[in-house]
Symmetry: C2
Subunit: 177 residues, 2 copies
């Protein structure tokens, strides 16, 4: 299945399209790190990030979106930006009838490296090996987005989304309201 992995953020937002399924290593179709200038107005930053998200959704038609789940350790200012981008990701996917799943960083690390305690370096290295890439994806947000996509593609048989066959099929785009 084709999955869009999103490592959300206002300063850097990792977006990766991966084609993979349980038992297969997977193929990296596309990756980018959308970034915005912190001096810009927050609504301008969100608008720029949203444009990249919708471009990727419309150009690669993923069947699922895998999004990093927020957790309490981050400071409020960071959480705010991340949550705002997450909201935009969830809405953009929903407008296209694409199901969104969220995963904690621990679940993603565990899925890719076998241990939830791995550091960013180990995740990046494993992503490179698993997808047979020539280089380690940089910045880390790119590797994180790829890892998120892999985490979902491999786990999907156990996810709620797979129990609904309609959501697994490629569904027509809905008119944005």
């Amino acid at each position: 299945m084709r999955v869009l992995g999103v490592d959300p953020g206002l300063t850097r937002c990792g977006l990766a399209i991966v084609e993979a399924s349980p038992g297969s290593r997977g193929e990296l179709i596309y990756v980018e790190v959308a970034s915005t200038d912190s001096k810009l107005d927050p609504s301008d930053r969100l608008f720029e990030i949203a444009q990249r998200i919708t471009w990727v959704l419309d150009n690669f038609s993923p069947q699922a979106v895998s999004l990093e789940r927020l957790f309490a350790q981050q400071n409020l200012r960071t959480v705010m930006g991340v949550a705002q981008v997450s909201g935009v990701v969830m809405l953009s996917a929903r407008e296209r009838n694409i199901p969104v799943s969220t995963y904690t960083p621990t679940a993603v690390k565990s899925s890719v490296t076998g241990s939830g305690r791995s550091d960013k370096k180990q995740v990046s290295k494993m992503v490179k090996e698993l997808l047979n890439l020539e280089e380690i994806p940089k910045p880390a947000d790119a590797a994180d987005a790829i890892a998120l996509a892999l985490c979902h593609a491999w786990r999907v048989p156990n996810q709620k989304v797979s129990s609904d066959p309609f959501r697994q099929r490629k569904v027509p785009k809905v008119k944005r309201t």
Copy 2:
């Protein structure tokens, strides 16, 4: 000027259109509290709230959006939902070239009642008096959204947004990308 005040939230989102200017009391044009079922998928909830927001923006063409600014006292789960809705509000407004300003609850209370320490009851009561309403707007999210709109309409000459004449004029809708 016509302002949309938004008290953001996934469970209840207050949306109020107020026509007011510095020195005038103002007129309430429209108010609603959009609500979603907490049992629904977060992306479905965001989608429902986004539909209400875009409906209000497109039907009442406000010149500015006044949004509650998040602060640290809230718990992370609440902050997440509020930030996600805030992101959707900011993006929807930006897509229509409508400037967004954010205000802390203290600034809003201070603007409407004269004291940043007022409680919700005092704000609701003052909103009723200022706008010459027959009843106190309920639930509190409705009164909060109205207070946010008033806060911006009265303060606008001192705000950054007013220094840009283009943003003050009613601008044509942009095509959503």
